[in-house]
Subunit: 337 residues, 2 copies
Amino acid sequence: MLDDRKLAVLRAIVEDYVSTNEPVGSKALVDRHNLGVSPATIRNDMAALEEQGYITQPHTSAGRVPTDKGYRLFVDRLSQIKPLSGAERRAIETFLAGAVDLDEIVMRTVRLLAQLTRQVAVVQYPSLTRSSVRHVEIVPLAERRVMLVLITNTGRVEQRVVDLPEDIADDRVANLRAVLNACLDGCGLSRVPETVADVPERLPPEDRPVAVTILSVLLETLVERHEEKIAFGGTANLAAADFSIGLRDVLEALEEQVVLIRLLGETGGLSGLTVRIGSENPYSGLRGTSIVAAGYGAGDRELARLGVLGPTRMDYPVTMGAVRAVARYVGQILAGS
Amino acid sequence: MLDDRKLAVLRAIVEDYVSTNEPVGSKALVDRHNLGVSPATIRNDMAALEEQGYITQPHTSAGRVPTDKGYRLFVDRLSQIKPLSGAERRAIETFLAGAVDLDEIVMRTVRLLAQLTRQVAVVQYPSLTRSSVRHVEIVPLAERRVMLVLITNTGRVEQRVVDLPEDIADDRVANLRAVLNACLDGCGLSRVPETVADVPERLPPEDRPVAVTILSVLLETLVERHEEKIAFGGTANLAAADFSIGLRDVLEALEEQVVLIRLLGETGGLSGLTVRIGSENPYSGLRGTSIVAAGYGAGDRELARLGVLGPTRMDYPVTMGAVRAVARYVGQILAGS
DNA sequence: ACTTGGCACTCGGGAACACAGAGTGCCAGA
DNA sequence: TCTGGCACTCTGTGTTCCCGAGTGCCAAGT
């Protein structure tokens, strides 16, 4: 049904269209790629490909353009992820190595991805829920007011100001801190609620109201921040790629954290890369845009995801290579720090 | 030289052009605003205004359009800042009040400004250098590795992982922490370097190498973060305002932190509002865009700045009102938390 | 000294039109 | 099954033309 040559033709069409941004015709095809046949033959193949929905023509008597289905086939079976050049790898390493805290790691990753792929980069902060407690700190700020600081093993720091129901002496705060750290150290965040359940009972009765208040804020922090944080950048690249339509929609989607998270979401197939092409993605404003995403994490578990977003007409092999490489390096950095 | 009627004409031109986005001619002017004179008279006035560079015509036989100089005059002398409606004020208050930490305050402020003005909003994080130390925390992470956490009175939290030259027992860390907090509590960040200079001497000799390492990282933190942090949003509004040219440039400028800071920078005249119109601003890519900015702070001192960025063709009175109001409310929130 | 109506002039933008060029589908022959 | 040829169909571009909004200027009016 789709013999080898037809597949080759499809591949050629995708490659040409991606690089020229113009519908590609039969003649141009045989000129550029040396398929050993004549334009007429190609036309027949094209007719077949169109029949089956892999390509389409914007109007009669124009060249062909890949459909989403065509890109899908290309990505799945006709292309290979293109590894980065040595220079690029080194650039990534040195650029990321300079980061000094989590915020900066994320920011730099965004820039890196945007620059490497010339698209919009999106990076999710390492998930709170899957990481574990490294330290809890309680800092007295004023009477009846403390700041609660939670440090995770991924370097993420959460802070909350807590208003207390009553005064509490500094040494009692210290005690509470010690108890908390003793039972929470290394504890997976998802297991924190059970773990702290009996903490009040282990304290002198007069400390319990304060402890309960602080604990409730702590739990709140975990729940609230379940909605993850996201950073993005490289929007200038959107303007460059003369986005046929909906630049507005894309920008809107980018500012809608919830949408973004869903787009990155759902881990996918081979080598951890997810590619969602045009109408495959669940947000109507993003018809015409594809997302290439990958999970990253320190060690074995996936902590969060990152990826890029660009026109369906993008260079998938290169983009996928860049995303995969960056995801790996970020994972290493996180594991090392 | 510029009698009252000419000024009225200029005002009318600005207002009409802002609302219609089309060059405004003499006839349209007399129709809409009831100046009590004929089109011919207006034409003479317009000629005078053009002569002096306040307006210009895109081409012969088109209406007039304000120049940057014209907008400047309009902002300085022909318009009044338009206060927000009661509903808007309440919306601001409730929206900002829900914020739970500094990050969220900033994020919400960005959204608020963007929504209120329908432009791109830019918010600078409260400056580190002008705030003061509320607490320093040293958290042991592993042997020879601690995390240094600095909490400022504006709620900003800075963290750094520090690799130590040698092992150090927890109680000695606690001692160092106590000493640091004792001398730094409430200390303005700019005075930290002098203040900590003699700390090593006050410690037992065996702790000094560690203390020196930690202090150097602390000082580094202060210096590095002198480059301030910035958040922005509402870029979708850019696409809506059919930006004549340079949407790309604008997006690039937005991602260039340094440029952004310079744009917000320099506090200005009346009521703390700075308006920079088109070519007045120091970045060539932003010809065609204006910036309305204001300082905000808890109490008397200006901690940082916020503002919006949009086409020179913007509704200045409304925008200025919104920026001023948001700046005030954010100040209140910061002071209160 | 301003203001006004009249008038000739200018120029951009849209509509109508023609045309070249790229591309297609199909068919008959190798 | 491939190929060359041929007729056909579009889009995009350039040309021309014309309308209308808007101007500048002048002479007359208040």
